[in-house]
């Protein structure tokens, strides 16, 4: 009952946010000019009549406000328009390129969370020890390492010098590793995933460690100890649950951003993902593509943060009931 109302409230907030975001994106980008003129700019000998004709074909002759609602209507029918540089339907492109982004982002997030929980807990339980210092040192180095610099070094060592992993692309064009698309895909994922995980692991480890130290200081942990629970059980059943709350929020953010955070990774590894596509779209001022990707990233982000909030509330009864 209370949970239901909470979820409903979050969803309505999300809807309002999406509406605002879409308006911002639309009016910002459309204030820049007529995309058809750009589309035909390279074509010599196009008369103004032709521009008007094609503009009308794209529905660009209508007033801006009307076009906004038409655009929203199209979005609701998952019609994102057509890319100017690629001439492909933007929706299909986002799906196709976005899948590639997820292909490296999701494993990287899973890996980061797993490693961070282990390392963070391990360090927290040895606070101020040599081991803790080592972990924290590594974490700080990892957090300060510019992602692209790390990527370049990874490529130099593992691709150029050692030749173990490919440094570009999501899959081999012809010769698949061991003849399997699965292995080949995994093989291509190694370096990009390593690069993305590095930063996430650092941040998450810090988060886990700090919260674990805080939690282990809490009275209920002492209660659990006084009740004779095994240390491992205390960590697993009591402390980790508490620590997972901020981790969930952070991971929710990572998942929400996963389509958009990776232009650098995808540029370094020439990975055919949405981030690289977005950079390309901006460089070429491909309006429909910029608008489409922006709105998808925004919606994804709003959805994921909303889901995170809901999940958080399901785990922590205090949020949903207070």
């Amino acid at each position: 009952m209370e949970t239901g109302r909470y979820i409903l409230r979050r969803l309505i907030y999300a809807a309002i946010m999406m509406l605002c975001t879409s308006a911002v994106i639309f009016f910002l980008i459309n204030s820049l000019g007529n995309p058809v003129e750009l589309m035909l700019a390279e074509t010599p000998g196009v008369s103004q009549e032709t521009v008007d004709l094609i503009s009308a074909q794209y529905g660009l002759d209508k007033p801006l406000i009307q076009r906004y609602f038409i655009w929203i209507g199209d979005l609701l029918r998952l019609d994102f328009g057509t890319s100017i540089t690629y001439n492909l339907p933007v929706g299909g492109m986002i799906w196709s390129w976005g899948l590639h982004s997820m292909q490296i982002q999701i494993p990287a997030i899973i890996l980061s969370v797993a490693v961070a929980i282990c390392a963070g807990t391990w360090a927290a339980r040895r606070q101020h020890s040599r081991q803790d210092f080592t972990v924290m040192g590594t974490v700080l180095l990892g957090q300060s390492m510019p992602a692209f610099f790390l990527g370049i070094i990874l490529i130099y060592i593992f691709s150029f010098v050692l030749g173990w992993f490919p440094s570009y692309g999501a899959i081999s064009t012809r010769r698949l590793l061991w003849g399997s698309a699965l292995f080949d895909g995994l093989w291509h994922m190694v370096l990009p995933v390593a690069m993305i995980s590095m930063f996430n692991i650092a941040t998450l480890t810090l988060l886990v460690r700090t919260n674990m130290i805080d939690t282990l200081r809490q009275d209920f942990i002492r209660t659990a100890r006084a009740s004779g629970l095994k240390e491992g059980e205390i960590i697993r059943r009591h402390a980790l649950r508490m620590v997972m709350l901020p981790v969930i929020t952070y991971v929710g953010l990572l998942l929400g951003l996963m389509l958009g955070t990776s232009p650098v990774t995808e540029t370094v590894f020439t990975w055919p993902g949405l981030g690289a596509l977005y950079v390309m779209a901006i460089q070429q001022l491909d309006y429909p593509l910029i608008m489409g990707i922006s709105i998808v990233i925004a919606v994804m982000l709003i959805l994921m943060t909303t889901l995170t909030d809901i999940l958080y509330a399901l785990i922590d009864p205090r949020v949903r009931l207070e």
């Binding site: 820049l32 610099f149 370049i152 953010l253 001022l285 922006s294 943060t305």
Partner: protein, 308 residues
Amino acid sequence: MTSMNDSIDPVARPARFGLFGRCLRTSMTGRVGFGLVMFVVIVAIFGPLLTPYAPKDQSAMYAVGANARPSADHWLGTDRLGYDILTQLLYGARTALVVGLGAVLISGCAGILIGGIAGYRGGWTDEVLMRFAEFFLVVPIFIIILAVVRVLSKAVTGTAFETMPYFNLTVIILMIGLFGWAPIARMTRGEFLRIKTLEFVQAARCGGQSGRQIVLSEILPNAFPSIVVLIALEIGGAILAEAMISFLGFGDPNAVSWGQMLYFNYQSLKIWPMASLAPGFMIFITVLGFNLLADGLSDAANPRARRR
């Protein structure tokens, strides 16, 4: 836990040499971080005195050529553009610091102001401002900055802005600053909310002090240690963000930036690694310096978490 905890203050005590003194005295990471930051600052100030070359001097192209190995004239060699790598590194420190401090000046002022208002006023104002901040917290800043940099460079065509020197860099600093206020605002708000309820603030009200006085002399100084930590972190973050933007080719062509060096040189990594590794390393130690400093400050600001 033990009765000793009773004597711990709800806010940090003032120390003899301030937060910085304590950070340097008590924290190893703080000392290392401070050292690295000072190194970059010194390079930024005095670096240009150490090199005979102008920052955009491509004359090496006609002499030793591009991608030249180290020599007496060019201690670290030249890069693909025929620039002296060392000179670029030295001048890049200025850009990095200007970006970091400039962006944080903006985000710090905005964040403290907005967070302070939200935390002090509370209620409806707080709700609205924090919803607003929430939006900025989750917005994919990087992507927006790319779009805005590109869009603005088109939008200013034919206006006075177009002739402004370092326009792109200014836009990047502004954008990083404008999008960086939310964490500071949230931290400030949290501290304000917490400190506001402490009894010495109520005592100040009872003592007839105005809201402005209370904020400026009672709440803000006590909230500052936590905010400073975040600010140090954000300086590093801003430098990193500018490097990434430049790395993607959206930087200011007229500024000397480590990110831009990487952008132009990483494709020829295999021919001459120094040209990409050197600027990458500089970004790394600068950001590391600020992160370590933040870590040390955080230890100093929260004595509860300090090693006993």
